[in-house]
Point group: C2
DNA sequence: TTGAAAATACCTAGAAATCAGTAGAAATAA
DNA sequence: TTATTTCTACTGATTTCTAGGTATTTTCAA
């Protein structure tokens, strides 16, 4: 650490949230809010010139969405610790931000204690979620509740080859089968997923984590 | 907690790992290893009759893979805390296990301290990773490094409609365009992703988190 | 060993997608 | 305002997919 306090930025399009966070954090000994932004682009420009150690980021921003922004920040500088502070409670959004390099995710109704805790964990290099968020992640996702189609070994195999953009003809050659057989399997796959064609099939299979 | 000690199960196909863990954990005051399994199926049968509070799970098992098993366990009983103990260092595998309800992920070379720490966090309802795993998650994934194709507004729109299994004809109707125009966009999309057809296009788009 | 499920393979025929070009109009950034 | 990108639309030929069936053989569990 180059200074004694973490240079902290806030990015949120609600002035009230910015003010609230500033007030909440002003007595923290280990960090100092050095800049605030309403737009993602502004923050991206800022970090090209200024040093930032930690950023609290909203997901909903006027110009860029927080998930993409998170990625861009990390691309700019890996050393910036990104914590997401959001109202979104959808599992997919939470997972996406972590995928994109965030060190944690908190809901805006989190307590100051939780915020403090997550910041300190993040600084230590850990990934941290607020209580509520952990519950959302742990809760089985929709995919898991909705029972996925039961695929046979051959079907799984052909599904994966289809996902690679291979034609029936090619697949048939690779598996030493008649193209007609592959067609049949393909048809059964489409039916099992109640898809209209292979495109939708691949989409569904992806969403169910089968590819 | 119903008993004073956490009833802990170990699932791993390597007898040596099982023995090692048993030895390591035998002096823990807060848990007791009550059962061990080499195969996933065996464990699934076991929990239908017996109470288990915590399970340490390997990803590579002879019958079922740990990611799917994790999901099945959670479907059987949400109260069982699942910690993954694995040698796999691929990001996608780690994320998948968390998606499937695991409370943490450790590499097999983790220290006993790390294991202790993760267990205690998991019991508290948190999600916890060992140091090395946290680094893997934080490290930008391949997707993010390989720059994704730059799509125009129209292309994004048509991509998403294609993913719904719609034909050029249908899409053209919905967007008040000529089917020939939609064909052109489709072709450009396929080219930008260097895919062989729409199936591969949808697959790629999914992997890049664009759908 | 006897079903049931899975895998294999075929037919016909229409629908849709893909390849390989070209090119004007519209929108947008420099 | 100019330059560039994006959106639009077309031709023609070819390949691949999809939908409706049917049917035999293999495999695996009860």
């Amino acid at each position: 650490m180059q200074t004694d306090k973490l240079r902290t930025a806030l990015v949120d399009d609600h002035p009230i949230v910015i003010e609230g966070l500033k007030t909440l954090l002003q007595n923290e000994t280990n960090l100092e809010v050095t800049s605030t932004f309403f737009k993602g682009e502004d923050f991206l420009s800022y970090i090209k010139v200024n040093q930032v150690d930690l950023v609290l980021l909203d997901v909903t921003l006027p110009d860029i969405n927080g998930m993409d922004l998170c990625q861009m920040i990390k691309r700019e500088s890996l050393s910036i610790i990104v914590l997401i502070l959001s109202n979104h409670t959808e599992r997919s959004i939470i997972m996406q931000t972590i995928q994109n390099g965030a060190s944690g995710y908190l809901l805006k109704n989190s307590s100051l204690d939780e915020l403090r805790h997550c910041i300190s964990e993040a600084v230590k290099g850990n990934i941290c979620f607020s209580k509520e968020v952990t519950e959302i992640i742990s809760r089985p996702s929709k995919n898991q509740l909705q029972d996925r189609p039961q695929l046979t070994r051959r079907e799984k195999q052909i599904l994966s080859l289809l996902a690679q953009g291979k034609t029936s003809h090619i697949i048939a050659e690779e598996l030493f089968l008649s193209p007609l057989t592959v067609d049949t399997h393909r048809r059964n796959l489409i039916q099992k997923f109640s898809a209209k064609n292979v495109a939708e099939l691949i989409m569904e299979a992806n969403q169910l984590g089968l590819l």
